[in-house]
Amino acid sequence: MKTAPLLLLSLWLLASAAWAGSIVTTKHNLSVNGAGTVKAVTESEICIFCHTPHNGSREAPLWNRFSSGQTYVPYSSSTAKAHPGQPTGDSKLCLSCHDGTVALGMVRNRPAAIQIQGGLTTLPSGATRLGTDLADDHPVSFVFDAALMAADGQLQNPATLTGAVRLDASKQLQCTSCHDSHDNQFGKFLAVNNTASALCTTCHNRTYWSASLHKTSTKTWNGAGTNPWPHTSLTTVQANGCENCHRPHSAGNKPRLLNFAGEEPNCYSCHNGNVAAKNIQAEFAKTSVHSVAATTGVHDPTEDAVNPPRHVECADCHNPHAAKAQTATVPAASGDLAGVKGVSSAGTVVNPLVNQYELCFRCHGDSTNRGPARIARQVVQTNSRLDFQSANASYHPVLATGKNPNGPSLIAPWTTASRMYCTDCHNNNQGPGAGGTGPKGPHGSAYVPLLERRMELTDNQTESAAIYALCYKCHSRTSILANQSFPFHNLHAVGGDVNCLSCHDPHGVSGKTHLINFNTAYATPASNGQLRFVDLGTRSGFCDVMCHGKNHTGSTNPDFRY
């Protein structure tokens, strides 16, 4: 009896004197000797702020605090399958300090509140004071069971939560699932080290995430501008993982707990040239953009793929959980577009999309909220999906190889057997397609409508390589002006200052070959009442059209035939 305590004392001292994860050295030691700034004036007991050996509350192990009695606003989002109500269990205990309504020193086994230094009563404002609005905090007090796992589809099996990250006895997720109030060895009293989101991924199993560039990139912040990771001390994209975009508490954007209010600021925080290699944010300051700044709070992940209220956000084209560095061959979409929805050439929603054009067709195809045509045409068609159908008489070869077997103007490697992307024409005017070093993709361009190269849209401008740069990218100016494909090209383009687009409708034309669909701002019916192009075979045809006051009556006058 005498030696056993001796031995035990020794062992205890050895094991304990400097316990790695002891509460004693943390901010949760609110005693006068505590490590934080919020601490007692004289009280030296540590446990007392939460626990008492006698006459405790039965809410929790020997609980020494009083519940706040507040009504909280729980987290909710359109995509959440868990629908938490008021906090329960251990979460209520944490909130008895962290909602900021209960005096820190108010404990059951002291006749008066323990005095806190600086005259503090409740938890001062700051990151740890959650308030009673928990809508910007990760949800707590909901049952995480197999049914929730199945309903969500992107969660780990709750049966695996047997380690430091645990559910409570009611299978509910609580503050204590992620936090260990007694142990701050990982910072923020986290139950496990959250580097590379090890804590988050204990429960969350996002589709596509394992191959995502946001999971694997070793990029760092160059120190310029706003800190992209204000709530972590981690220094790479890989290490920040989920926290590149999300924060579990006091989120700027409540649903989905995004770091910053609004949508695009969450992307710009890295894609502004300070972390990611390319400055995407700057693209949106250009003349012609996919205007992600035009709406806030309209986009929703659960929205209809084709007919939501008209908007565009980064997340409409990019899935931040899926995007990866993967090149593709036309018409397949590259890794930038991994894991997003699209609409097939037949008009059905595909998820995830396979081909790049499927993304464009979501908004520029069957969507009923499309804007008016940019150029008034004889045949009006603003549905780009229909423009490119392979059943049409002519089209640029996005959905299928082109119809015209003769393409003398095509610049190698383009041939009449080529396929092309939407982004071969619609792209950054400073990106690699335009010979620049800017980012790829149709975020913004100096040229309307988001064209990779300059393309004037109206007549009466002196022909040059510059003003029709987009067409001349693939169609040799030399060949065109030498009339290799159409004997009157030079006459029109150079002699008449007629724009390519005044005769040609570049996407496609259902009933006319050679993409002929007149700009009705210039082309009206000829004196014979006809407004038409008639294809008479290979390099042969005529027009009936009144253009800039010039009456073309090809049906009767051989001068207008070829």
């Binding site: 094991a15 430091a164 645990r166």
Partner: protein, 203 residues
């Protein structure tokens, strides 16, 4: 491994504890358990609990017991995070509860039935569900690995505090006869820095 690294520190600390203990253990006299001033003791404080002859036999391990023993039905401590079973208070604790559960008067001893009951902070009551568990085994069965239950949030498996049949009882924290650190709680070691709690709970 830790033991090897810290053995010299431990030896020194333990020596200091012994030295301090020799002078600090003031005995029951003058403590809150000194009932000699009460009329019903006639100045004999010890007899409230002990008698040299013809002692009470119902409480095993309660030496020369003289106080009427509680027969209250106790409500035991429960917790969803507790991995050990909480049993009935052991005889050591029942001796304490024979005053502190409030069902037996302080001055019910030696066959007499008194009328002064524990009150205020001294009153624990027969409902022990709001009190630190007693009658709970502190040691694990051989072969159990800490992380089986504690998931990396350990409970210390050894302590300098005394246990009784391997169980925590009132006397694990309290020394009924000595004001080791002063004050009315008769705790075995100081509450400053929550040292007493941290003996077993290395939080």
């Amino acid at each position: 491994m830790l033991a090897l690294r810290r053995s010299s520190v431990a030896a020194g600390f333990f020596g200091a504890v012994l030295a301090a203990g020799a002078t600090a253990f003031a005995g029951v006299t003058g403590s809150i358990h000194d009932f000699s001033a009460r009329g019903w003791t006639g100045g004999e404080s010890c007899k409230v609990c002990h008698v040299p002859h013809h002692a009470e036999q119902t409480l095993a391990d309660a030496p020369l017991w003289n106080h009427t023993t509680t027969v209250a039905a106790f409500t035991l401590y429960r917790s969803s995070t507790l991995h050990k079973t909480v049993g009935e208070p052991g005889t050591r604790s029942k001796a304490c509860l024979s005053c502190h559960d409030g069902t037996v008067a302080l001055n019910s001893f030696g066959g007499a039935v008194g009328g002064e009951f524990a009150a205020g902070r001294a009153l624990v009551g027969p409902d022990l569900s709001d009190d630190h568990p007693v009658g709970i085994a502190f040691y694990h069965a051989p072969g159990l690995v800490c992380s089986n239950c504690h998931g990396g949030r350990p409970m210390r498996l050894v302590s300098t505090l005394p246990f009784f049949d391997g169980k925590v009882e009132c006397a694990s924290c309290h020394d009924v006869h000595n004001q080791r650190v002063g004050g009315a709680r008769l705790v075995r070691t100081t509450l400053a820095g929550s040292a007493l709690c941290l003996h077993c709970h290395p939080k």
